[in-house]
Amino acid sequence: MSETYDFLFKFLVIGSAGTGKSCLLHQFIENKFKQDSNHTIGVEFGSRVVNVGGKTVKLQIWDTAGQERFRSVTRSYYRGAAGALLVYDITSRETYNALTNWLTDARTLASPNIVIILCGNKKDLDADREVTFLEASRFAQENELMFLETSALTGENVEEGFLKCARTILNKIDSGELDPERMGSGIQYGDASLRQLRQPRGTTTQNKQQCNC
């Protein structure tokens, strides 16, 4: 019947128009490159269940339009996201320069704890590169972001980007830094843990009390 997973994470894909956000999502979900991709209207949606460190995690991914005219619409989707892929195009300095704005948006509108991975997309177009790996990784370091260069065309590092982000969130849950029970955390429990037959503690005694009344 319903899908089985341990956790559900809400993810965002953000960044300027034309950086290849939808293609990244498409590559991640369908495992192929989206040939004639149009500008996204508003927000698109995709999901995939992945296995991270022995846990099954359902990624619920909201792929936002990069165009300015959709900005207020897309912003309304930020709330309660657990992770984000912040995407720029390595062949366009303009998209790189806009990163600070996107970052502020994400941290203020989603959650200060949001786990963000910076993705320099279109790695395959190295000849037209306008942003070096070094300066981008410095930017990432300064802003406490993870960083990868990706190619939605070849699929290079696409899976890694999403998984790395998910893994970091899982680690934060394990370390107690993130509390899935908190509202707006962007994390939900699935019921897979149940199917592995774990008994919640203390329920038996509690029930007896309720029965007697």
Binding site: S2, I41, R69, M183, Y189
Partner: protein, 923 residues
């Protein structure tokens, strides 16, 4: 020799006496088959002495199996609890493990029927408790099925394997759980039954308890540490509880497995689960405590928000997401309205009121409403941008511009005014979409569905005010219309996004029927869209009308089969009006809505035909002149309230009853046999009457009013004032039309007002009490907001049905003028087109030209115009591109342009019929 004979005789005599004394044979027949049938009744009655006596010295085989199922007498004894016979048979060597044709031993039968003593004895004689019947059932299965715990106790210690499986892999524990035998379950568990044992399809004891909603059993299993396991198809115990609507069992599952709560909430997204069952379960769980209530609603709100966001994402399936969102929101609103189990914090329901815990549950949805708002703002921006950067008209606006052109050439006063759908502003809007086309067309449906969800959430927070619709005494009970006020927040929302909403609706008016149901509940919002609604096909509006009329009613048949004899309306034919009035007023409105069952006194018949007949006869009675309720209009076929009806002192009650009956008929789609005047239909609809309506009661006077309007009255010296003289019981009295009217002169400038006021006086004020009483009755079944969907012509169709139109008769009685003659190709085409029209379209055409949907008695030859007989006439009009046909109803004239082809003629005629036939309402 003699002695032997004597002896034999004695023996025989002895037998005879014994036999006679016991009223039965005293000797078993030789063959087993006959013998067993002699013994069987005695065994059943446990007549052990007789049995013992008969068996003594007989050669009967105690293990003889007989009958279809091949049972022995021991089976019979065990089955019936004949313990003495059972022992007797055992002593005589009956096999305690003998199996009948289905594999059952006597022990099985004793267990099944709970024959405790028999069971005990069978065990003493070493009956094998582990034998399975052909279905694999053992004695303990039988005990478990029927919950015979005490017996099970005795038996279970003899059982080698308490988890013995039947052919389906089911253990005694499985069947006990399924049947909810608590003590049996405990006994089996105490005897070491495997609490998690799956059957062949992977179903565990907990699974069975849940599949049958056995809450106590589920509780026992869970508190004993039962695992939560799905079956081999992945169906979980929770799935089963929800499918069955077992709220209590669900609640117990959640108590023990907290995470199932989320799973339960997520199930609202599953299309396969019946909404009613899911709602039932969530309803129950929410009522457990205030915190349950809060948690359920908050979680539902979260799921709804995610679904709403998915719906607003263009890659999702519109249909599936839309249904999912609306389902979740419906459930959410339902649970919210129930309120928490303790009423103490349930009072504040106002949306803008205090942030009490209760309204907090809406909080997660704010994200969705925020997105909705941003989307609508975005669309509005797109519209603006496109407007400043106009492009060529899109195809959707072609028809609009066509009609707009038509308006310019049109001048006939009786020709239909075009719908305000064609306001220049709107037409302009239609033209500018082309650029933002993609965004708007791709999101309009999705946004509309979210708007519907928003409306549902806003209105479920409004207090449910009991608005008593008017004051209704005696005859008909007070209908209590439980109507909610429209939420101020929603009204504000509609006002804010007015432009975008209108744009959506203009582009796809179906959105109104699919998502904008709120219009029906809110007249102030409805009026904004009325012109678009009225522009929709009659059929669609009918569907919408009935969909909402019957919303919330159990699937009502036209005629219901009453379970209760008291629900049948028993009508006396000889006093049909009075007895109907009595019967209907005795019943409740709710019952009458569910269905009507009529029986005429002294007659057998019931059913749809009788109901139809009742409405038919009753409607004829309502207009019976003897009651003086209605008078015939000038044309002799239509009726309207009689201003002198007060000769009957009870007349207002009767009007209320008449309204009641017509409302009821409409509610149940029954046609009545009355045609009212145009003006009375307008009164029912709440549409103002105009001077042309006067012609139905006083055609000459109507002509005079028309004359005043058509001519300059400045220099005529009419010396009219805003007053009329009326004859009140023989004395002339001057009645002012408005305050101080007797001293206000009618001038060229204010003559229109004069005509309107004098029309209202004649048409409305004179029969106001009657109209009001009629409407009170009518609105009991038909809310005013719904009937508004129609114009007076359509209302007539709804109430009295579609008249049959004979095209040949029509054609024979048609005249031609201005250059047309029957041989003209255009005329030939015209009749070919008319022949090809549907019945409904023909009626529209007839209405369009004559103003009436009915053919007079005797056919088209008797068609009446403003001044006597006036045949249907077709007049030629020079053709210019896009010109539509027009009409002059007072002379029954269709002005048909000389179209170049049949296709064009047909096309233009249909446009005129569908857009123009309601135009009179605004003329």
């Amino acid at each position: 020799m003699m002695e032997r004979a004597m002896e034999q005789l004695n023996v025989q005599l002895n037998r005879l006496t014994r036999s006679l004394r016991r009223a039965r044979t005293v000797e078993l027949p030789e063959d087993n088959e006959t013998a067993v049938y002699t013994l069987m009744p005695m065994v059943m009655a446990d007549q052990h002495r007789s049995v013992s006596e008969l068996l003594l010295n007989s050669k009967f085989d105690v293990n003889y199996a007989f009958g279809r199922v091949k049972r022995s007498l021991l089976h019979i004894a065990a089955n019936c609890g004949s313990v003495e016979c059972l022992v007797l048979l055992l002593k005589r060597g009956a096999n305690p493990n003998y199996q009948d044709i289905s594999g059952c031993t006597p022990l099985h039968l004793a267990a099944r029927n709970g024959q405790k003593k028999c069971m005990g004895r069978l065990l003493e004689y070493n009956a094998d408790v582990n034998i399975c019947n052909n279905e694999g059932l053992t004695a303990i299965h039988w005990l478990a099925v029927n919950g015979r715990t005490e017996l099970l106790h005795d038996l279970v210690q003899h059982v080698s394997n308490v988890d013995v499986e039947d052919a389906m892999g089911q253990t005694a524990l499985h069947v006990a759980c399924q049947n909810g035998h608590k003590t049996t379950v405990l006994c089996l568990l105490d005897s070491g039954a495997d609490i998690n044992r799956p059957n062949v399809s992977g179903a565990t004891p907990l699974y069975f308890a849940c599949s049958h909603g056995q809450r106590d059993t589920a509780q026992i299993l869970l508190s004993r540490g039962s695992k939560y396991l799905p079956d081999k198809n992945g169906v979980t115990p929770l799935d089963l509880c929800v499918q069955g609507g077992y709220g209590e069992t669900c609640e117990i599952l959640i108590q023990h497995h907290g995470r199932l709560f989320q799973t339960l909430i997520q199930m609202t997204q599953n299309d396969d689960i019946k909404e009613s069952m899911l709602r039932q379960v969530l309803e129950h769980v929410s009522q457990q405590s205030d915190s349950h209530y809060q948690r359920i609603l908050t979680s539902l709100a979260e799921v709804a928000t995610t679904n709403g966001h998915k719906l607003l994402s263009l890659s999702s399936s519109y249909e599936a997401q839309m249904k999912s969102l609306l389902r979740i929101v419906r459930i959410f609103c339902h649970v919210f309205r129930l309120g928490p189990s303790s009423p103490n914090n349930g009072n504040d329901m106002g949306y803008n009121g205090n942030k009490t815990a209760r309204s907090q549950v809406f909080k997660p949805l704010e994200l969705l409403w925020h997105s909705l708002d941003e989307w609508l703002v975005l669309i509005s921006t797109e519209l603006d941008r496109n407007r400043n950067n106009p492009s060529s008209p899109s195809s959707s606006s072609e028809i609009a511009s066509l009609l707009l052109k038509q308006r310019e050439v049109e001048h006939s006063s009786s020709a239909p005014k075009l719908p305000s759908l064609l306001d220049p502003q709107i037409v302009m809007e239609t033209e500018v979409y082309a650029d933002g086309e993609d965004v708007i067309s791709m999101t309009a449906n999705r946004l509309s569905a979210v708007i519907q969800a928003f409306y549902m959430c806003c209105s479920c927070q409004m207090p449910q005010g009991s608005v008593v619709s008017l004051h209704l005494p005696s005859v008909i009970q007070n209908p209590i219309n439980t109507q909610r006020m429209t939420s101020p927040r929603f009204i504000e929302f509609v006002c804010k996004h007015d432009e975008v909403l209108k744009c959506f609706v203009t582009r796809n008016p179906k959105i109104i029927f699919n998502h904008f149901h709120f219009l029906l509940e809110c007249p102030e919002l409805m009026s904004r869209f009325m012109h678009i609604i009225k522009g929709q096909p009659f059929k669609d509006r009918c569907e919408w009308f009935y969909e909402h009329l019957l919303a919330g009613q159990p699937d009502s048949d036209m005629v219901h089969r009453p379970v209760n004899e008291n629900d049948i309306l028993l009508i006396h034919r000889d006093s049909i009006f009075r007895s109907s009035c009595e019967m209907v007023s005795k019943s409740t409105n709710e019952k009458l809505k569910q269905g009507i069952a009529v029986r005429f006194h002294g007659e057998e018949g019931m059913g749809q035909g009788v109901v139809r007949e009742w409405f038919d006869i009753l409607s004829n009675e309502i207009i019976n002149p003897d009651y003086a309720l209605f008078t015939q209009s000038a044309d002799g076929t239509t009726f309207q309230p009689n201003s002198n009806s007060s000769v009957n002192p009870d007349h207002l009650n009767y009007f209320r009853f008449a309204g009641h009956i017509l409302g009821l008929a409409l509610y149940h789609r029954q046609l009545v046999n009355i045609y009212f005047t145009r003006s009375f239909y307008k009164h029912i609809l709440g549409i103002p009457v105009n001077y042309q309506d006067v012609s139905s009661i006083d055609p000459e006077y109507a002509k005079n009013l028309q004359w005043i309007l058509d001519n300059d009255i400045s220099d005529l010296g009419l010396e009219l004032t805003f007053s009329v003289e009326t004859d009140v019981f023989g004395a002339m009295e001057e009645v002012p039309l408005k305050p101080g009217g007797t001293s206000i002169l009618v001038t060229q400038d204010n003559k229109a007002e004069y005509v309107q006021l004098v029309t209202e006086l004649r048409m409305t004020r004179a029969i106001q009490p009657q109209i009001n009483a009629f409407l009170q009755g009518f609105h009991t079944f038909i809310p005013a907001s719904l009937i508004q969907l129609f114009d007076e012509y359509e209302l007539e169709l709804l109430l009295s049905g579609m008249p049959e139109i004979d095209v040949q008769d029509w054609c024979r009685n048609t005249e031609y003028t201005s250059g047309y003659d029957p041989q003209e190709p255009v005329i030939q085409w015209f009749w070919q087109v008319v022949t090809g029209l549907t019945q409904e379209e023909r009626v529209l055409l007839l209405q369009f030209v004559t103003g009436s949907s009915r053919v007079p008695h005797g056919g088209f030859a008797y068609l009446m115009g403003g001044s006597g007989l006036q045949k249907f006439t077709v007049a030629a009009v020079p053709y210019t591109s896009n010109l539509l046909p027009t009409s002059s109803t007072c002379i029954n004239m269709l002005k048909l342009p000389e179209y170049p082809s049949q296709e064009v003629l047909r096309d233009r005629l249909l446009v005129a019929l569908h857009c123009g036939s309601y135009g009179y309402t605004m003329a």
